[in-house]
Amino acid sequence: MRSSPAAGWPLKTAAWGVIAFLHVPLALIILYAFSAEDKSYVFPPPALTTQWFGVAWLREDVWAAIKLSFEVALASTGVALVLGTLAAAALARASFFGREAVSLLLILPIALPGVISGIALRSAIGTMQIPFSFWTIVIGHATFCVVVVYNNAVARLRRLNPNLIEASMDLGADGFQTLRYIVLPQLGSALLAGALLAFALSFDEVIVTTFTAGQQTTLPIWMLQELIRPRQRPVTNVVAVIIIALTFVPILVAYSLTRADEPVHR
């Protein structure tokens, strides 16, 4: 590591202050899930209880929303995994006319504000008179999940030693065998990390989903409805904690899988 002088206290305070700013709200969510107060957001909670977890457990609408979000995330991740890996294989080393344009196209769905991608998909769905369905949600999600898989796969492919591929070919393997026995094993954990992040991204997506879901309720849409018109605050508090727990796991696993590559990007 580089040798730098010890940080002065103003810098240290500022740095850890920002970390606190990023995390205090998340800690508060966990506290509120145990609050006995059910009419307001009063702080500090007058008493603590675990009863709301039981109440939330029995809510059919919450389960239905979780199920739909899970299925959508699974299908979107599947599509993104195929398309993102193919794009990464094509763009990792090759240089050809239009390469920049292709990588820009992959990034566009997350670079443009979600509301634009959303309304674009909405007007295409409307113009072609396609009814809203499970698949209209998946099409939107898969489109912005591709870049996540792509980023992870491309970082790993660039680290892959090209001599390995040539050695495999020299030893008589054909292209498909080289792919099966040399490239895919090296790529595996990066693809798993990309898939986990794509899953987390889809599971949490709300902006594009509001345009492509019609009357269907994914978990984020359920949450958004509660945010705008709170009906039962304690249940919302509990669901918020569940969402945090469900998204932290894939993120941390993805981080540990790709630590040696470049930092995880969106």
């Binding site: 580089r2 940080a7 810098l11 500022a14 740095a15 920002v18 700013f21 990023l22 995390h23 709200p25 998340l26 969510i29 307001s40 957001y41 702080f43 500090p44 398309l83 193919l86 794009a87 094509a90 050809f96 292709v102 196209l105 769905p109 443009l112 504000p113 979600g114 509301v115 634009i116 991608s117 309304i119 674009a120 998909l121 007007s123 295409a124 409307g126 113009t127 099409i139 898969a142 489109t143 591709v146 070919m169 054909d174 292209g175 498909f176 065998q177 992040l197 987390a200 991204l201 949490d204 902006i207 984020p220 945010l227 705008i228 918020a240 969402i243 998204t247 993120i251 941390l252 969106r266």
Partner: protein, 315 residues
């Protein structure tokens, strides 16, 4: 003959081998095979949708039936120039600029600390501490701020406990940015935007500071610069690409968001909300389409500026 016997049998013959050889020797064909599925998906689904959006911007709405009339008209763009709409655009752009500046001010010290002072386990902990909020649920984090900013919430409580209630009241009494409580004020909207997009600013700045060679900093010191001068003349200019890259995220995410100002804020509208309302409640997809071209144009201009600052080398 003998040497041939010593070799292992060739693995696969026939069609598979021929396809494999063809792809290996003709790289263009391999590239085409790899690129065709993603290009088809993005070309048809995404670009197709964006084109449908663009086309809709030139359609009109039948006043009586409320149906989209597919005839070319520029009426939507004339409506855009309405003072109320220009006001929305001005407010959104101002908010995006302020949020970006605040994210730089808050993000830079942490990014600098991560890049130049933290090492080993501490660095990993800090990295995860920045990445977790970035990836964790947008709505849950927004909900957390609803709890924090509510009139009976944690911030009011803290102000009371520290006898700073008068300060909070004074801030809320400010014209234009104040309100009945923090969750119904423009200050609240601003704070939540900063919170939401801050990690997107920290990570690129940190990456760009890490790339500054230690020798540059030593050279600056050897040539007589004190640490403050080294910071101003060496570190800051070289971290500019990172700041520019982060600002693309903070700027464009703020400009297009319609959920945050709907949940936290006074009832004034931002671009995203107008687009959403026009297509949803009003059912006026053509006007919503025309309005959504505004952030595309603004972001396009912003990207040109960011490119000049080297943002794309830091992404």
């Amino acid at each position: 003959m003998n040497t041939a016997l010593a070799l292992p049998p060739p693995p696969a013959q026939g069609l598979r081998r021929r396809v494999s050889d063809l792809l290996y020797t003709r790289r263009g064909l391999l590239l085409l095979a790899l690129l065709a599925p993603p290009l088809l998906w993005f070309g048809v689904v995404y670009l197709g949708s964006l084109l449908a959006l663009l086309a809709n911007a030139f359609f009109g709405l039948d006043d009586y039936t409320g149906q989209v009339v597919r005839e070319f008209t520029l009426q939507n763009f004339r409506d855009l120039a309405d003072p109320a709409n220009l006001d929305v655009v001005r407010r959104s752009v101002t908010m995006s600029v302020l949020v970006t500046l605040a994210c730089v001010a808050l993000g830079f010290p942490l990014a600098y600390y991560m890049a130049r002072h933290a090492s080993g386990a501490q660095k990993a902990v800090l990295y995860i501490a920045v990445m977790l909020p970035l990836w964790s649920s947008y709505l849950v984090r927004l909900y957390a701020w609803k709890l924090l900013l509510a009139k009976e919430g944690a911030i009011s409580w803290l102000a009371q406990q520290t006898h700073l209630g008068w300060l909070l009241d004074a801030v809320l009494a400010l014209p234009a940015i104040g309100g009945p409580s923090l969750s119904f004020s423009a200050i609240g909207t601003f704070v939540v935007f900063v919170y939401m997009w801050l990690p997107f600013m920290i990570l690129p700045i940190q990456a760009s500071i890490e790339r500054i060679p230690q020798s540059y900093i030593e050279a600056s010191g050897d040539l007589g610069a004190n640490p403050a001068l080294t910071f101003r003349r060496v570190i800051l200019p070289l971290s500019m690409p990172g700041i520019a890259a982060g600002s693309i995220f903070t700027f464009s995410l703020t400009l297009g968001d319609y959920i945050i100002p709907q949940v936290i804020g006074d009832s004034t509208l931002y671009i995203g909300q107008v687009v959403f309302k026009q297509q949803g409640v009003a059912g006026n997809v053509p006007f919503a389409a025309a309005f959504s071209l505004v952030p595309i144009v603004v972001i396009g201009l912003y990207l040109r500026l960011a490119k000049k600052l080297g943002a794309f080398d830091a992404l």
